[in-house]
Symmetry: C2
Subunit: 129 residues, 2 copies
DNA sequence: TAAATTCATTTGTATATGCAAGTAAAATTA
DNA sequence: TAATTTTACTTGCATATACAAATGAATTTA
């Protein structure tokens, strides 16, 4: 099980990295950017929950996107908000189409029904663990 | 899917790390050592296949186990063989019981039947990707 | 058999991620 | 309201892994 789940994640990672190459972002960066565009001002904590990554990882992802001028961060008090820059927003269509392609790429391999079931199962099990 | 599989793998990793703490090895190191004990002289390439890791990762894992005097490597020509040291062999019972405990820990959470099915499904899907 | 190719492994470097500790603000408590 | 605790995030450091290039041996080809 340990190696099975690891292997699946690594294959997915590879598939995803290839998929997102067109926009020059890693999968995590891409998804984070999508979220910042679709929910401007979203906070690191929320991002961590939704992307199922640790807060520290989220910080690192945001830093990189800031360097690339795709998002900006504003801090008031202890809260931080992440907004897309115009340059970031411009990427939205491409990001969405990449995301759709990625979903398609494994859906066509696994079949629509099976894909949904697998994701559901995996999530259910992750919650249980 | 991307984050789902990643999240599952990370949870598994955490569970496994905890589980293997008793023997002072990371999960990958532990499984590699088990294989070297059960199949003395096993080669890196085989290990890579079975553990579903890249050859370079296998090299790094072996290096660490060598440092800890748990395995030794002999090289003849282009082939390398990995053997457990006596110190490594001594760990076998503990390794096996850790491994059993780990399997139990997620089997009890998920149920026996469901665990087997999930592993099967994941492997099938990984192969397809 | 000399040259080219393939194979098994290792090495250099890079990415993705997290934990534990640190910081600073906000909320709670005394 | 001063002191404590909690919250939200960031930073330093560590681990797990892979890719691409390097090495050196074995195999195939010409």
């Amino acid at each position: 099980m340990y190696f099975a789940s690891g292997a699946l994640a690594r294959k997915m990672e590879k598939l995803a990295i290839n998929n997102w190459k067109k926009v020059g972002l890693s999968p995590s960066h891409a998804y984070l950017l999508i979220m910042a565009i679709e929910e401007p001002g979203i906070q690191p904590g929320t991002l961590a929950d939704e992307l199922q990554l640790s807060p520290s990882t989220i910080t690192r992802l945001i830093e990189k996107l800031e360097e690339k001028k795709l998002v900006i961060r504003t801090t008031e008090g202890k809260l931080t908000n992440v907004y897309p820059t115009p340059k970031g927003k411009d990427l939205h269509p491409q990001l969405k189409s990449c995301s759709a392609e990625f979903n398609e790429s494994y859906t066509t391999i696994l079949g629509k029904e099976e894909s949904t079931r697998l994701v559901l199962n995996i999530n259910r099990i992750t919650d249980k663990l």
